[in-house]
Protein backbone atom coordinates (compact mmCIF):
# COMPACT_ATOMS: atom_id res chain seq x y z
CA UNK A 1 0.00 0.00 0.00
CA UNK A 2 1.25 3.46 -0.88
CA UNK A 3 1.53 6.12 1.75
CA UNK A 4 1.08 9.88 1.61
CA UNK A 5 -0.16 12.23 -1.09
CA UNK A 6 1.63 13.60 -4.14
CA UNK A 7 0.22 16.92 -5.40
CA UNK A 8 1.12 18.26 -8.83
CA UNK A 9 1.19 22.03 -8.33
CA UNK A 10 0.68 24.64 -11.03
CA UNK A 11 3.03 27.61 -11.06
CA UNK A 12 3.23 30.77 -13.11
CA UNK A 13 6.50 32.69 -13.28
CA UNK A 14 7.73 30.63 -10.31
CA UNK A 15 4.75 31.63 -8.14
CA UNK A 16 2.51 28.77 -6.98
CA UNK A 17 -1.02 29.26 -8.29
CA UNK A 18 -4.17 29.43 -6.17
CA UNK A 19 -5.36 26.21 -7.83
CA UNK A 20 -2.34 24.45 -6.30
CA UNK A 21 -2.88 25.94 -2.84
CA UNK A 22 -6.48 24.77 -2.73
CA UNK A 23 -5.28 21.24 -3.55
CA UNK A 24 -2.48 21.40 -0.99
CA UNK A 25 -5.04 22.49 1.60
CA UNK A 26 -7.29 19.57 0.68
CA UNK A 27 -4.33 17.17 0.63
CA UNK A 28 -3.39 18.17 4.20
CA UNK A 29 -6.92 17.54 5.36
CA UNK A 30 -6.99 14.12 3.64
CA UNK A 31 -3.48 13.20 4.89
CA UNK A 32 -4.63 13.85 8.46
CA UNK A 33 -7.14 11.02 7.94
CA UNK A 34 -5.17 8.70 5.66
CA UNK A 35 -1.76 9.18 7.27
CA UNK A 36 1.48 10.00 5.48
CA UNK A 37 2.94 13.26 4.28
CA UNK A 38 2.13 15.67 1.47
CA UNK A 39 4.67 16.10 -1.33
CA UNK A 40 4.34 19.02 -3.74
CA UNK A 41 5.64 18.43 -7.26
CA UNK A 42 6.38 21.59 -9.26
CA UNK A 43 7.27 21.58 -12.96
CA UNK A 44 9.39 24.09 -14.83
CA UNK A 45 11.16 25.91 -12.00
CA UNK A 46 13.72 25.08 -9.32
CA UNK A 47 12.80 28.02 -7.09
CA UNK A 48 9.02 28.03 -6.61
CA UNK A 49 7.60 30.62 -4.23
CA UNK A 50 4.48 30.41 -2.13
CA UNK A 51 4.29 26.63 -1.64
CA UNK A 52 2.42 25.88 1.58
CA UNK A 53 1.01 22.88 3.36
CA UNK A 54 3.53 20.33 2.00
CA UNK A 55 6.18 18.41 3.96
CA UNK A 56 8.45 18.36 0.92
CA UNK A 57 8.72 20.05 -2.44
CA UNK A 58 10.17 18.36 -5.50
CA UNK A 59 11.03 20.48 -8.51
CA UNK A 60 11.59 19.32 -12.06
CA UNK A 61 13.37 22.00 -14.04
CA UNK A 62 15.14 22.29 -17.38
CA UNK A 63 14.26 23.18 -20.96
CA UNK A 64 12.19 20.00 -21.47
CA UNK A 65 9.82 20.88 -18.64
CA UNK A 66 9.19 24.59 -19.01
CA UNK A 67 6.51 24.68 -21.67
CA UNK A 68 3.96 21.90 -21.35
CA UNK A 69 4.80 18.84 -23.47
CA UNK A 70 3.13 15.44 -23.10
CA UNK A 71 6.11 13.06 -22.99
CA UNK A 72 8.43 14.91 -20.59
CA UNK A 73 5.62 15.79 -18.17
CA UNK A 74 4.25 12.25 -18.14
CA UNK A 75 7.76 10.92 -17.43
CA UNK A 76 8.43 13.46 -14.67
CA UNK A 77 5.18 12.64 -12.87
CA UNK A 78 5.91 8.93 -13.33
CA UNK A 79 9.34 9.36 -11.69
CA UNK A 80 7.73 11.29 -8.82
CA UNK A 81 5.05 8.61 -8.32
CA UNK A 82 7.67 5.85 -8.30
CA UNK A 83 9.83 7.72 -5.81
CA UNK A 84 7.04 8.85 -3.47
CA UNK A 85 5.00 5.61 -3.73
CA UNK A 86 1.94 7.60 -2.57
CA UNK A 87 -1.54 6.30 -1.83
CA UNK A 88 -3.05 9.25 -3.66
CA UNK A 89 -2.03 11.57 -6.49
CA UNK A 90 -3.83 14.91 -6.89
CA UNK A 91 -3.68 17.49 -9.68
CA UNK A 92 -5.76 20.36 -11.00
CA UNK A 93 -7.77 19.63 -14.10
CA UNK A 94 -6.06 21.67 -16.83
CA UNK A 95 -5.34 21.23 -20.52
CA UNK A 96 -1.99 19.70 -19.53
CA UNK A 97 -3.32 17.17 -17.02
CA UNK A 98 -6.19 16.23 -19.33
CA UNK A 99 -3.58 15.54 -21.99
CA UNK A 100 -0.92 13.52 -20.16
CA UNK A 101 -2.55 11.94 -17.09
CA UNK A 102 -4.66 9.39 -19.00
CA UNK A 103 -1.53 8.42 -20.92
CA UNK A 104 0.42 7.92 -17.70
CA UNK A 105 -2.47 6.10 -16.04
CA UNK A 106 -2.58 3.66 -18.97
CA UNK A 107 1.20 3.16 -18.74
CA UNK A 108 1.11 2.37 -15.03
CA UNK A 109 -2.23 0.54 -15.09
CA UNK A 110 -3.71 3.04 -12.62
CA UNK A 111 -7.24 4.34 -12.26
CA UNK A 112 -7.86 8.03 -12.88
CA UNK A 113 -10.92 10.08 -11.96
CA UNK A 114 -10.95 13.48 -13.67
CA UNK A 115 -12.58 16.79 -12.71
CA UNK A 116 -13.88 15.99 -9.27
CA UNK A 117 -15.46 18.86 -7.33
CA UNK A 118 -15.13 17.30 -3.89
CA UNK A 119 -12.92 14.78 -2.12
CA UNK A 120 -13.33 13.04 1.22
CA UNK A 121 -12.26 9.90 3.08
CA UNK A 122 -14.85 7.21 3.78
CA UNK A 123 -13.77 3.97 5.51
CA UNK A 124 -10.14 4.79 4.86
CA UNK A 125 -10.73 5.20 1.13
CA UNK A 126 -10.80 8.38 -0.90
CA UNK A 127 -14.12 9.22 -2.48
CA UNK A 128 -14.55 11.90 -5.13
CA UNK A 129 -17.74 13.68 -6.20
CA UNK A 130 -17.76 14.10 -9.93
CA UNK A 131 -20.12 15.97 -12.28
CA UNK A 132 -21.21 14.17 -15.44
CA UNK A 133 -23.52 15.13 -18.32
CA UNK A 134 -21.97 18.59 -18.06
CA UNK A 135 -23.01 18.89 -14.43
CA UNK A 136 -26.62 17.78 -14.96
CA UNK A 137 -25.82 14.85 -12.64
CA UNK A 138 -23.12 13.91 -10.13
CA UNK A 139 -21.78 10.65 -8.76
CA UNK A 140 -19.37 9.36 -6.13
CA UNK A 141 -16.24 7.92 -7.70
CA UNK A 142 -13.77 5.45 -6.21
CA UNK A 143 -10.40 4.50 -7.64
CA UNK A 144 -9.23 1.07 -6.52
CA UNK A 145 -5.64 1.22 -7.83
CA UNK A 146 -2.63 2.02 -5.66
CA UNK A 147 -2.08 4.92 -5.95
CA UNK A 148 -5.42 6.39 -6.95
CA UNK A 149 -5.29 9.47 -9.19
CA UNK A 150 -7.81 12.32 -9.02
CA UNK A 151 -7.83 15.62 -10.86
CA UNK A 152 -9.98 18.41 -9.41
CA UNK A 153 -11.77 21.25 -11.10
CA UNK A 154 -10.30 24.69 -10.25
CA UNK A 155 -12.07 26.65 -7.45
CA UNK A 156 -13.48 23.48 -5.88
CA UNK A 157 -11.94 23.93 -2.43
CA UNK A 158 -11.31 26.97 -0.23
CA UNK A 159 -7.66 27.72 0.53
CA UNK A 160 -7.22 27.29 4.32
CA UNK A 161 -5.89 30.45 5.96
CA UNK A 162 -3.50 28.60 8.24
CA UNK A 163 -1.43 26.57 5.76
CA UNK A 164 2.13 26.29 7.11
CA UNK A 165 5.09 27.23 4.93
CA UNK A 166 6.85 24.38 3.17
CA UNK A 167 10.57 23.56 3.48
CA UNK A 168 13.16 24.37 0.79
CA UNK A 169 12.60 22.64 -2.54
CA UNK A 170 14.66 19.67 -3.71
CA UNK A 171 15.49 18.94 -7.33
CA UNK A 172 13.97 15.77 -8.81
CA UNK A 173 16.10 14.35 -11.62
CA UNK A 174 14.15 13.05 -14.57
CA UNK A 175 15.93 11.24 -17.40
CA UNK A 176 14.02 11.26 -20.68
CA UNK A 177 14.06 8.49 -23.26
CA UNK A 178 13.28 8.58 -26.99
CA UNK A 179 9.73 7.46 -26.18
CA UNK A 180 9.22 10.69 -24.21
CA UNK A 181 10.06 12.85 -27.21
CA UNK A 182 7.35 11.81 -29.65
CA UNK A 183 6.09 15.39 -29.94
CA UNK A 184 7.88 18.74 -30.09
CA UNK A 185 6.40 22.10 -29.16
CA UNK A 186 7.59 24.27 -32.05
CA UNK A 187 5.78 27.52 -31.30
CA UNK A 188 3.84 29.25 -28.53
CA UNK A 189 1.44 31.97 -29.59
CA UNK A 190 0.94 34.44 -26.77
CA UNK A 191 -2.48 35.80 -25.86
CA UNK A 192 -3.58 39.34 -26.65
CA UNK A 193 -4.64 40.05 -23.08
CA UNK A 194 -3.51 38.97 -19.67
CA UNK A 195 -6.82 38.09 -18.05
CA UNK A 196 -7.42 35.06 -15.82
CA UNK A 197 -8.50 31.96 -17.70
CA UNK A 198 -12.29 31.42 -17.72
CA UNK A 199 -12.00 28.10 -15.88
CA UNK A 200 -10.18 29.78 -12.99
CA UNK A 201 -11.90 33.18 -12.98
CA UNK A 202 -13.62 34.39 -9.82
CA UNK A 203 -15.79 36.80 -11.79
CA UNK A 204 -17.12 36.35 -15.34
CA UNK A 205 -19.19 38.68 -17.52
CA UNK A 206 -20.73 36.82 -20.46
CA UNK A 207 -22.51 38.20 -23.49
CA UNK A 208 -25.06 36.44 -25.68
CA UNK A 209 -26.88 36.91 -28.93
CA UNK A 210 -28.63 39.90 -27.33
CA UNK A 211 -25.43 41.92 -27.93
CA UNK A 212 -26.25 41.86 -31.66
CA UNK A 213 -22.72 42.56 -32.93
CA UNK A 214 -19.04 42.11 -32.19
CA UNK A 215 -18.73 45.90 -31.89
CA UNK A 216 -21.34 45.89 -29.14
CA UNK A 217 -19.67 42.94 -27.41
CA UNK A 218 -16.38 44.84 -27.46
CA UNK A 219 -17.86 48.13 -26.28
CA UNK A 220 -20.32 46.76 -23.67
CA UNK A 221 -19.07 43.42 -22.29
CA UNK A 222 -15.31 44.02 -22.29
CA UNK A 223 -15.35 47.33 -20.37
CA UNK A 224 -17.90 45.98 -17.88
CA UNK A 225 -15.68 42.94 -17.36
CA UNK A 226 -12.64 45.18 -16.95
CA UNK A 227 -14.46 47.27 -14.33
CA UNK A 228 -15.31 44.10 -12.37
CA UNK A 229 -11.84 42.55 -12.81
CA UNK A 230 -13.69 39.79 -14.63
CA UNK A 231 -12.92 37.49 -17.55
CA UNK A 232 -15.26 37.98 -20.52
CA UNK A 233 -17.22 34.94 -21.68
CA UNK A 234 -19.92 34.24 -24.27
CA UNK A 235 -22.79 31.98 -25.18
CA UNK A 236 -22.48 29.68 -28.13
CA UNK A 237 -24.82 31.86 -30.19
CA UNK A 238 -22.48 34.82 -29.57
CA UNK A 239 -19.43 32.74 -30.51
CA UNK A 240 -21.08 31.35 -33.64
CA UNK A 241 -22.02 34.90 -34.67
CA UNK A 242 -18.37 35.93 -34.28
CA UNK A 243 -18.80 38.30 -31.30
CA UNK A 244 -16.20 36.36 -29.30
CA UNK A 245 -13.76 33.51 -29.96
CA UNK A 246 -14.30 29.78 -29.41
CA UNK A 247 -12.11 29.81 -26.30
CA UNK A 248 -14.60 32.24 -24.70
CA UNK A 249 -17.61 29.92 -24.93
CA UNK A 250 -19.22 28.86 -21.67
CA UNK A 251 -21.36 25.74 -21.67
CA UNK A 252 -21.64 22.07 -22.38
CA UNK A 253 -19.47 22.29 -25.48
CA UNK A 254 -17.39 25.18 -24.18
CA UNK A 255 -15.73 25.85 -20.87
CA UNK A 256 -17.19 24.71 -17.58
CA UNK A 257 -16.74 27.60 -15.17
CA UNK A 258 -17.03 27.92 -11.42
CA UNK A 259 -16.81 31.62 -10.45
CA UNK A 260 -18.13 33.49 -7.42
CA UNK A 261 -20.03 35.84 -9.69
CA UNK A 262 -21.37 35.18 -13.18
CA UNK A 263 -23.05 38.06 -15.01
CA UNK A 264 -25.09 36.94 -18.06
CA UNK A 265 -26.04 39.74 -20.47
CA UNK A 266 -28.44 39.04 -23.32
CA UNK A 267 -28.25 35.28 -22.73
CA UNK A 268 -31.48 33.26 -22.70
CA UNK A 269 -30.19 30.46 -20.44
CA UNK A 270 -30.39 27.36 -22.65
CA UNK A 271 -29.78 24.01 -20.94
CA UNK A 272 -26.35 23.70 -22.63
CA UNK A 273 -25.33 27.14 -21.36
CA UNK A 274 -26.58 26.39 -17.85
CA UNK A 275 -24.50 23.20 -17.90
CA UNK A 276 -21.33 25.28 -18.08
CA UNK A 277 -22.08 27.81 -15.34
CA UNK A 278 -24.61 26.32 -12.96
CA UNK A 279 -22.11 25.99 -10.10
CA UNK A 280 -21.44 29.75 -10.08
CA UNK A 281 -22.04 30.99 -6.55
CA UNK A 282 -24.01 34.04 -7.65
CA UNK A 283 -25.63 34.50 -11.06
CA UNK A 284 -26.83 37.87 -12.31
CA UNK A 285 -29.06 37.96 -15.40
CA UNK A 286 -29.70 41.02 -17.52
CA UNK A 287 -32.31 40.27 -20.15
CA UNK A 288 -35.21 42.22 -21.60
CA UNK A 289 -37.47 39.16 -21.80
CA UNK A 290 -38.95 38.39 -18.39
CA UNK A 291 -39.84 34.88 -19.65
CA UNK A 292 -36.19 34.02 -20.42
CA UNK A 293 -35.23 30.72 -18.69
CA UNK A 294 -32.13 32.35 -17.22
CA UNK A 295 -34.36 34.05 -14.64
CA UNK A 296 -35.31 30.58 -13.31
CA UNK A 297 -31.83 30.12 -11.87
CA UNK A 298 -30.35 33.61 -11.60
CA UNK A 299 -29.72 34.86 -8.06
CA UNK A 300 -30.52 38.43 -9.14
CA UNK A 301 -32.17 39.55 -12.32
CA UNK A 302 -32.92 42.82 -14.04
CA UNK A 303 -35.55 42.74 -16.76
CA UNK A 304 -34.46 45.55 -19.06
CA UNK A 305 -32.42 46.47 -22.10
CA UNK A 306 -28.81 45.46 -21.59
CA UNK A 307 -27.63 48.48 -23.60
CA UNK A 308 -29.05 50.67 -20.82
CA UNK A 309 -28.17 48.48 -17.83
CA UNK A 310 -24.60 47.42 -18.62
CA UNK A 311 -23.11 50.93 -18.91
CA UNK A 312 -24.96 52.00 -15.74
CA UNK A 313 -23.62 48.96 -13.91
CA UNK A 314 -20.13 49.67 -15.17
CA UNK A 315 -20.31 53.26 -13.95
CA UNK A 316 -21.69 52.17 -10.58
CA UNK A 317 -18.83 49.66 -10.12
CA UNK A 318 -16.21 52.19 -11.18
CA UNK A 319 -17.63 54.63 -8.62
CA UNK A 320 -17.14 52.08 -5.82
CA UNK A 321 -13.39 52.51 -5.69
Amino acid sequence: MGNGILVLCEQEGGQIKGTALELLGKARELAAQLGGSVTALVMGTSTPTGVKGAQQIWCVDGPDFQAYNTGPWARAVQVAIEKAAPALVLATSTVATRDFFPRLAARLGLGLATEVVDLCVVDGQVLGRRPVYAGKALYDVRVSSDPAIFTARPNSFPVPADLPDAPAPEALDVALTEADRLTRVVDTLAPETDVVDLTEAAVIVSGGRGLKSKENYDSIIRPLAAALGATPGASRAAVDAGFASHGDQVGQTGKVVNPNLYVACGISGAIQHLAGMRTSKVIVAINKDEEAPIFDFATYGIVADLFTICPLLQAEIEDLD
Partner: protein
Protein backbone atom coordinates in the same frame (compact mmCIF):
# COMPACT_ATOMS: atom_id res chain seq x y z
CA UNK B 1 -3.40 7.07 -45.82
CA UNK B 2 -6.12 5.46 -43.74
CA UNK B 3 -7.76 7.47 -40.95
CA UNK B 4 -9.56 6.00 -37.97
CA UNK B 5 -12.19 7.99 -36.08
CA UNK B 6 -13.32 7.14 -32.56
CA UNK B 7 -17.02 7.79 -32.26
CA UNK B 8 -19.22 7.48 -29.19
CA UNK B 9 -22.98 7.43 -28.79
CA UNK B 10 -24.21 9.88 -26.15
CA UNK B 11 -27.58 11.35 -25.09
CA UNK B 12 -28.56 14.49 -26.97
CA UNK B 13 -27.38 17.58 -25.10
CA UNK B 14 -31.02 18.74 -24.74
CA UNK B 15 -31.76 15.69 -22.57
CA UNK B 16 -33.25 16.34 -19.13
CA UNK B 17 -31.28 13.92 -17.00
CA UNK B 18 -33.23 11.72 -14.57
CA UNK B 19 -31.59 9.51 -11.96
CA UNK B 20 -32.55 5.83 -11.61
CA UNK B 21 -34.34 4.87 -8.38
CA UNK B 22 -31.36 2.87 -7.13
CA UNK B 23 -29.01 5.83 -7.84
CA UNK B 24 -26.81 3.60 -10.02
CA UNK B 25 -27.04 5.76 -13.12
CA UNK B 26 -29.43 7.74 -15.27
CA UNK B 27 -32.76 6.65 -16.70
CA UNK B 28 -32.10 5.85 -20.34
CA UNK B 29 -35.69 5.28 -21.56
CA UNK B 30 -36.86 7.92 -24.03
CA UNK B 31 -33.37 9.28 -24.55
CA UNK B 32 -32.55 10.55 -27.98
CA UNK B 33 -29.09 9.25 -28.83
CA UNK B 34 -26.67 11.18 -30.99
CA UNK B 35 -23.04 11.14 -32.08
CA UNK B 36 -20.93 12.83 -29.40
CA UNK B 37 -20.66 16.45 -30.67
CA UNK B 38 -16.85 16.55 -30.45
CA UNK B 39 -16.58 13.30 -32.40
CA UNK B 40 -18.45 15.00 -35.22
CA UNK B 41 -15.50 17.38 -35.48
CA UNK B 42 -13.08 14.44 -35.56
CA UNK B 43 -15.08 12.80 -38.34
CA UNK B 44 -15.30 16.07 -40.26
CA UNK B 45 -11.52 16.54 -40.08
CA UNK B 46 -11.01 13.01 -41.43
CA UNK B 47 -13.46 13.65 -44.27
CA UNK B 48 -11.75 16.95 -45.08
CA UNK B 49 -8.40 15.17 -45.35
CA UNK B 50 -10.05 12.67 -47.70
CA UNK B 51 -11.57 15.51 -49.76
CA UNK B 52 -8.08 17.02 -50.00
CA UNK B 53 -6.83 13.62 -51.25
CA UNK B 54 -4.51 13.20 -48.29
CA UNK B 55 -6.45 10.16 -47.13
CA UNK B 56 -8.08 7.32 -49.06
CA UNK B 57 -10.23 5.71 -46.43
CA UNK B 58 -12.00 6.72 -43.21
CA UNK B 59 -12.93 3.97 -40.74
CA UNK B 60 -15.18 4.60 -37.72
CA UNK B 61 -14.52 2.74 -34.46
CA UNK B 62 -17.24 2.71 -31.86
CA UNK B 63 -17.65 0.79 -28.63
CA UNK B 64 -20.93 0.33 -26.86
CA UNK B 65 -24.27 -1.39 -26.78
CA UNK B 66 -27.61 -0.99 -28.49
CA UNK B 67 -27.96 1.75 -31.09
CA UNK B 68 -24.24 2.20 -31.69
CA UNK B 69 -24.59 0.72 -35.17
CA UNK B 70 -27.09 3.52 -35.92
CA UNK B 71 -24.56 6.18 -34.95
CA UNK B 72 -21.88 4.47 -37.06
CA UNK B 73 -24.38 4.40 -39.95
CA UNK B 74 -24.86 8.19 -39.52
CA UNK B 75 -21.11 8.61 -39.77
CA UNK B 76 -21.01 6.44 -42.89
CA UNK B 77 -23.75 8.62 -44.37
CA UNK B 78 -21.51 11.66 -43.95
CA UNK B 79 -18.81 9.93 -45.97
CA UNK B 80 -16.79 7.40 -43.95
CA UNK B 81 -16.09 4.10 -45.77
CA UNK B 82 -16.53 1.47 -43.06
CA UNK B 83 -17.32 0.96 -39.43
CA UNK B 84 -16.08 -1.26 -36.62
CA UNK B 85 -18.55 -1.85 -33.80
CA UNK B 86 -17.15 -3.31 -30.60
CA UNK B 87 -20.04 -4.67 -28.59
CA UNK B 88 -19.28 -4.26 -24.92
CA UNK B 89 -21.03 -4.32 -21.55
CA UNK B 90 -21.82 -1.13 -19.63
CA UNK B 91 -19.65 0.25 -16.85
CA UNK B 92 -16.25 -0.56 -18.26
CA UNK B 93 -13.63 1.90 -17.09
CA UNK B 94 -11.70 4.10 -19.51
CA UNK B 95 -8.64 1.84 -19.55
CA UNK B 96 -10.61 -1.25 -20.55
CA UNK B 97 -12.36 0.74 -23.28
CA UNK B 98 -9.03 2.12 -24.50
CA UNK B 99 -7.52 -1.39 -24.59
CA UNK B 100 -10.37 -2.66 -26.74
CA UNK B 101 -10.25 0.30 -29.11
CA UNK B 102 -6.45 0.13 -29.36
CA UNK B 103 -6.63 -3.58 -30.25
CA UNK B 104 -9.24 -2.91 -32.95
CA UNK B 105 -7.27 0.05 -34.35
CA UNK B 106 -4.09 -2.03 -34.42
CA UNK B 107 -5.81 -4.88 -36.23
CA UNK B 108 -7.16 -2.43 -38.80
CA UNK B 109 -3.87 -0.56 -39.23
CA UNK B 110 -4.54 3.18 -39.52
CA UNK B 111 -2.08 6.05 -40.04
CA UNK B 112 -3.95 8.62 -38.03
CA UNK B 113 -6.56 8.23 -35.29
CA UNK B 114 -8.88 11.17 -34.61
CA UNK B 115 -11.25 11.50 -31.65
CA UNK B 116 -13.36 14.13 -29.92
CA UNK B 117 -11.74 15.91 -26.98
CA UNK B 118 -14.29 14.45 -24.58
CA UNK B 119 -17.59 12.62 -24.59
CA UNK B 120 -20.37 14.85 -23.28
CA UNK B 121 -21.90 12.05 -21.18
CA UNK B 122 -19.21 11.04 -18.69
CA UNK B 123 -16.91 13.97 -19.59
CA UNK B 124 -13.86 11.84 -18.76
CA UNK B 125 -11.52 12.88 -21.61
CA UNK B 126 -9.32 9.85 -21.05
CA UNK B 127 -9.74 7.29 -23.80
CA UNK B 128 -7.84 8.87 -26.74
CA UNK B 129 -4.65 9.52 -24.72
CA UNK B 130 -4.85 6.02 -23.25
CA UNK B 131 -5.13 4.54 -26.74
CA UNK B 132 -2.06 6.58 -27.77
CA UNK B 133 -0.04 5.17 -24.87
CA UNK B 134 -1.13 1.59 -25.52
CA UNK B 135 -0.17 1.91 -29.19
CA UNK B 136 3.04 3.82 -28.35
CA UNK B 137 1.99 6.65 -30.68
CA UNK B 138 2.43 10.41 -30.23
CA UNK B 139 -0.65 12.32 -29.10
CA UNK B 140 -1.99 15.84 -29.04
CA UNK B 141 -5.27 16.37 -27.23
CA UNK B 142 -7.85 19.14 -27.71
CA UNK B 143 -6.56 20.70 -30.91
CA UNK B 144 -8.03 23.60 -32.83
CA UNK B 145 -5.91 23.38 -36.03
CA UNK B 146 -4.36 20.47 -37.89
CA UNK B 147 -1.95 20.05 -40.81
CA UNK B 148 -0.95 16.66 -42.17
CA UNK B 149 2.04 16.45 -44.54
CA UNK B 150 4.79 13.98 -45.46
CA UNK B 151 4.03 11.48 -42.74
CA UNK B 152 3.96 14.13 -40.02
CA UNK B 153 1.47 16.41 -38.29
CA UNK B 154 1.43 19.92 -36.96
CA UNK B 155 -1.37 20.68 -34.51
CA UNK B 156 -2.38 23.74 -32.51
CA UNK B 157 -3.96 23.54 -29.09
CA UNK B 158 -5.24 26.15 -26.66
CA UNK B 159 -3.42 25.69 -23.34
CA UNK B 160 -5.54 28.25 -21.43
CA UNK B 161 -5.65 32.04 -21.17
CA UNK B 162 -5.68 32.17 -24.95
CA UNK B 163 -2.11 30.82 -25.20
CA UNK B 164 -1.77 28.46 -28.14
CA UNK B 165 0.92 25.83 -28.64
CA UNK B 166 1.96 24.43 -32.00
CA UNK B 167 3.00 20.78 -31.65
CA UNK B 168 4.71 18.57 -34.23
CA UNK B 169 5.23 14.83 -34.51
CA UNK B 170 5.28 11.84 -36.86
CA UNK B 171 2.42 9.61 -37.90
CA UNK B 172 0.82 7.37 -36.81
CA UNK B 173 -0.59 9.54 -34.04
CA UNK B 174 -3.71 10.03 -31.93
CA UNK B 175 -5.25 13.49 -32.03
CA UNK B 176 -8.34 14.72 -30.20
CA UNK B 177 -10.41 17.56 -31.59
CA UNK B 178 -12.02 20.66 -30.11
CA UNK B 179 -15.01 22.20 -31.81
CA UNK B 180 -13.24 25.22 -33.27
CA UNK B 181 -11.36 22.85 -35.62
CA UNK B 182 -14.10 22.81 -38.28
CA UNK B 183 -17.84 22.82 -38.95
CA UNK B 184 -19.26 19.31 -39.32
CA UNK B 185 -21.17 18.57 -42.52
CA UNK B 186 -24.63 17.06 -42.68
CA UNK B 187 -25.28 13.77 -44.40
CA UNK B 188 -26.55 14.19 -47.96
CA UNK B 189 -29.48 12.17 -49.27
CA UNK B 190 -27.24 10.15 -51.63
CA UNK B 191 -24.86 9.74 -48.68
CA UNK B 192 -27.64 8.24 -46.59
CA UNK B 193 -28.59 5.87 -49.42
CA UNK B 194 -25.00 4.75 -49.93
CA UNK B 195 -24.45 4.24 -46.20
CA UNK B 196 -27.04 1.46 -46.19
CA UNK B 197 -24.71 -0.73 -48.22
CA UNK B 198 -21.52 0.13 -46.34
CA UNK B 199 -20.01 -2.49 -44.08
CA UNK B 200 -19.98 -2.48 -40.27
CA UNK B 201 -17.70 -5.16 -38.74
CA UNK B 202 -19.00 -6.50 -35.50
CA UNK B 203 -16.37 -7.40 -32.91
CA UNK B 204 -16.76 -8.83 -29.48
CA UNK B 205 -14.70 -7.18 -26.78
CA UNK B 206 -13.38 -10.46 -25.40
CA UNK B 207 -12.23 -11.50 -28.88
CA UNK B 208 -10.02 -8.39 -28.76
CA UNK B 209 -8.23 -9.84 -25.75
CA UNK B 210 -9.75 -7.49 -23.19
CA UNK B 211 -10.73 -9.04 -19.88
CA UNK B 212 -14.00 -7.52 -18.72
CA UNK B 213 -14.54 -9.82 -15.76
CA UNK B 214 -12.24 -8.10 -13.24
CA UNK B 215 -13.48 -5.17 -11.18
CA UNK B 216 -13.05 -1.78 -12.79
CA UNK B 217 -10.23 0.45 -11.51
CA UNK B 218 -12.65 3.34 -11.40
CA UNK B 219 -16.21 2.78 -10.20
CA UNK B 220 -19.13 5.04 -9.43
CA UNK B 221 -22.35 5.09 -7.45
CA UNK B 222 -24.69 7.30 -5.45
CA UNK B 223 -25.82 9.28 -8.49
CA UNK B 224 -27.74 12.44 -7.84
CA UNK B 225 -28.91 15.67 -9.37
CA UNK B 226 -27.10 18.90 -8.60
CA UNK B 227 -28.75 21.06 -5.95
CA UNK B 228 -31.62 22.97 -7.54
CA UNK B 229 -30.74 26.58 -8.07
CA UNK B 230 -33.59 28.37 -6.47
CA UNK B 231 -35.27 31.06 -8.45
CA UNK B 232 -33.77 34.30 -7.30
CA UNK B 233 -35.23 37.77 -7.22
CA UNK B 234 -35.93 40.11 -10.06
CA UNK B 235 -34.98 43.61 -9.03
CA UNK B 236 -37.79 46.03 -9.89
CA UNK B 237 -37.59 49.72 -10.59
CA UNK B 238 -36.17 52.19 -13.06
CA UNK B 239 -32.80 51.17 -14.59
CA UNK B 240 -30.74 53.52 -12.42
CA UNK B 241 -32.37 52.42 -9.17
CA UNK B 242 -32.31 48.75 -10.14
CA UNK B 243 -28.58 48.88 -10.87
CA UNK B 244 -27.89 50.64 -7.56
CA UNK B 245 -29.91 47.99 -5.72
CA UNK B 246 -28.12 45.19 -7.61
CA UNK B 247 -24.71 46.52 -6.58
CA UNK B 248 -25.89 46.87 -2.99
CA UNK B 249 -27.13 43.26 -2.95
CA UNK B 250 -23.90 41.99 -4.52
CA UNK B 251 -21.89 43.76 -1.83
CA UNK B 252 -24.01 43.36 1.27
CA UNK B 253 -26.09 40.22 0.77
CA UNK B 254 -24.05 38.04 -1.59
CA UNK B 255 -20.73 39.59 -0.58
CA UNK B 256 -19.10 38.96 -3.95
CA UNK B 257 -17.95 42.52 -4.69
Amino acid sequence: MKIGVLLKQVPDTETRIRIADDASGIVTDDIKWVINPYDEHALEEALKLKDARKAKEVVIFSLGGKGVDQRIREGLARGAERGVWIEAPENLDSLAIARALAAAVKAEGVDLLLAGKQAVDDDNSQVPAMVAEILGWPQVMMISELQIDDGGFKATRDVGKGVRQVVEGRLPAVISCDKSLNTPRYASLPGIMKARRKKIDNKNISALGVDTSSDPLVSHGNWGLPPERSKGQVIPGEPKEAVKELVRLLREEAKVL
